[in-house]
Symmetry: C2
Subunit: 475 residues, 2 copies
């Protein structure tokens, strides 16, 4: 039976692009090794037409299809379940930049183009593609779209959803929807692209996209600030935003425990600031004005923030190398946690105005449950997204800490976010890991609505089944 | 039968808020008097709960529901058909600003709040709600959302879809979906709000929204430029955008025929420029920097544009009054056409890079069909949206011109836009007027997909029936 399927799939994409058996293992496991599945076969089409033919065949034969980009998902969205019944469809070979239009400030790229390659193609045309996330070299545009990726420049440029004008999608029955329009205004009918953005391949497979590009900023200013409290840090954000508008490109908060952890990981003695602070802020301002003009505005705004006591110290990067060095601290926090092991990773968002209270109260609750926990808290605070990742005390093993506390802490953090009308998954999506939690944080009305869309587009539930949508009593 | 319904509706909203007979006429006709329908009754609920009860009752009794905001639609989307079977549900009494959160830069408003009231509420909190369209005083947030309104500040702030974070919606069965989340990052499940934005009330009724606000720019610069061709004007846009980034808030192109028409309408002898030009550009730059800094950048960029021959003259508004005066010229073009009568109004968009060719070739085609037509062309060129509105020669009656040429010109313009992968409705939506045109400009795959969503949410086709979605052979 499955051999018959494999032969047919080979007839579509050729023998070298259908993998079976052991060759499927690296695809069927996520990059952290947390989610391990089995695939009937890995199929690697090279064109939209081939994707269409594969999906049509699977639809006709009731075979589930799990699309996969760079497989950098954190929540299991990109790997199949353990049944071994699904075709894993890798988009990696759809890797062409089809067109770049400088005047329209758009480019058309295929799903398998890596974020790095997309950014490079834009730069070659004198433009910026602004999405900025850690996995840039591996993650692919199709995955960025289907998870509505966020990252460190959302404050200025928005999430991936905001960076796309049109899509090409292979629908669950194999039909191709060509919605590759590069228009900033288009109200001629339902805007269907939103069905496929952030739905993790459960409604269809994105094969190409028209992305927006931006002018490359001529000026960039980066600083590390020290602040006495999250409340003051948020006030500083509000004032900088008033003074510098959307030029405030990143505003990243880092707790003292997070700073201590990453400095140790990097083998450094001190942060860019000579003394320690309860909170650090990495701020980046970018502008199309000259460096001189941008710096003058930045310094003036920083002075005001300091005079008002919102920050206690500031180190300003004096060149590109130093700026990169400041950013390295922020970017390495994730790896520092991975290496240290024993952290509970929560990716929540709340309204900005609720962030200080959330951090204060949730930290107290965690400490009450798990004393001596290190409060590794950081994130894209300018857009409300906090990575709230309690870390084991140094003297406790990762295994003991997680066994004793992980579930309780995660529930506690998620509950606190929901009480503030926040989200339990700000930018990491749902996959399988967060799927059933949606039963607790989303209303029945909302889940029924999502399922009605799912059933309308994919009545046989073959597209990335088991992801995003929790099973409901009425299913 | 209908009397029985009226009694029930009165039991929900009270006797003064159910109108029948002649009292429904002004609601059942659009403001231009072009689309005239009949309503079973006009119902004016005052709360989400009342909207829910009305819709639930209509659903149970198979009564179509036509939601209406400020009734400023141009394409018939806000009025019922002539059958007299529909309840017209006016959102006007849902007019509370529920909350303003300055630090989170959001506000929660009900659907019936006028755009003007929303802008005023934001200003009172020291913030900007940036949507800017001519009907500001009458149009309502619910209508702005359900038509994804555009206007003159899209270039900087995006369409209405980009200005909303969360929605509250009454679904076709009367259930209330509370999606009033004020989060800039939230990937916990399908982002369902996009189902209701731009779908003109065909999938549900928006009752409230969380809107984004922005810092109020401290500086504003407005200028009227003269340019020899649309190509050069577009080059000027590209360069200004490189130099000033997203501070370029509006970039409006005006043809010489459009300028002549509006000057006559305003009783003026000359534009802000002393001589005539083939094209005029109204440009506005706004910035959170000081006026001095913004002006220096603006003048420097304008000098560069002039030196490169992209523009031939520039008049810079020296104060707020003069800036308003320049804007009046742009804003009165629409009324000048209405008063003159005999114009074919097309609201198309194309990729920016295609605008000059589109204007050149389409103008030639129109002139070939209808000699001596005045080429009234204007619009938000910075976002690709051209109002291409050929106007009768002065010596021809409006009736003769439209009878002879309207259909042919409209088809010709729309065809030209579609050939360039553009849109036949950039910002005005579909309503009934453009509905059947979608059969020609959208693929069968796309229309089937839209219908599958419609059927999933509104299986009895009771929500604003006959709007947006064309009847298909398979229906």
């Amino acid at each position: 039976m499955s051999n018959h399927h494999v032969i047919h799939l080979i007839s579509i994409v050729g023998p070298t692009n259908v993998l079976v058996g052991e060759d499927t293992q690296s695809f069927a496991t996520d990059y952290r090794g947390v989610f391990r599945g089995q695939a009937l076969a890995v199929v690697r089409p090279a064109s939209t037409a081939e994707v269409s033919a594969v999906v049509a065949y699977c639809s006709q034969n009731n075979i589930p299809v799990v699309p996969q980009g760079g497989n950098t998902s954190l929540l299991g969205g990109s790997v199949p379940d353990a049944s071994g019944t699904a075709v894993l469809l890798s988009l990696t070979r759809l890797n062409r930049v089809r067109a770049v239009d400088s005047l329209n400030a758009t480019m058309v790229v295929e799903a398998g183009v890596t974020l790095h390659a997309a950014r490079t193609a834009a730069e070659a045309a004198g433009a910026l593609f602004p999405l900025r996330i850690g996995s840039e070299g591996s993650c692919q545009i199709g995955g960025n779209l289907s998870t509505n990726a966020g990252g460190t420049a959302v404050l200025r440029y928005g999430n991936m959803r905001d960076l796309v004008l049109g899509l090409e999608v292979v629908l669950p029955n194999g039909e191709i929807w060509n919605g590759l329009r590069g228009l900033r205004k288009d109200n001629a009918g339902y805007d269907l692209k939103h069905l496929f953005i952030g739905t993790e391949g459960t409604l269809g497979i994105i094969t190409a996209a028209v992305l927006k590009t931006y002018p490359i900023p001529r000026a960039k200013c980066v600083a590390m600030l020290g602040s006495a409290s999250a409340d003051l840090a948020l006030e500083a954000f509000g004032l900088l935003r008033q003074r510098l508008g959307t030029d405030v490109t990143a505003f990243e908060l880092i707790s003292s425990d997070a700073m201590a952890l990453v400095l140790e990981h990097l083998g450094r003695q001190t942060s860019p600031l000579p003394t320690t602070h309860p909170w650090y802020i990495l701020v980046e301002v970018s502008s199309t004005s000259s460096q001189e003009v941008a710096e003058a505005s930045f310094y003036s705004a920083l002075s005001e923030v300091a005079e008002k006591g919102m920050i206690d110290d500031a180190a300003i990067a004096s060149n590109e190398k130093q700026a990169a060095d400041f950013w390295l601290i922020r970017e390495e926090i994730s790896d520092a946690q991975t290496r240290t092991r024993g952290s509970v990773r929560c990716d929540i968002s709340v309204p900005l105005s609720s962030i200080p209270g959330f951090i204060r109260e949730t930290s107290a609750k965690v400490t009450a449950v798990a004393p001596s926990t290190r409060m590794v808290i950081y994130g894209h605070v300018g857009d409300g997204n906090v990575h709230f990742n309690p870390l084991r005390p140094a003297e406790m093993t990762p295994e003991d800490y997680l066994a004793q506390h992980e579930d309780a802490i995660m529930k506690l953090v998620d509950d606190a976010a929901m009480e503030l009308n926040g989200s339990i998954s700000a930018e990491h999506g749902v996959g399988t890991a967060k799927r059933d939690e949606l039963l607790h944080v989303r209303s029945e009305v909302e889940l029924k609505l999502a399922w009605s869309v799912k059933r309308a587009l994919d009545p046989a539930n073959l597209m990335n089944p088991g992801k995003v949508l929790p099973l409901m009593p009425t299913n």
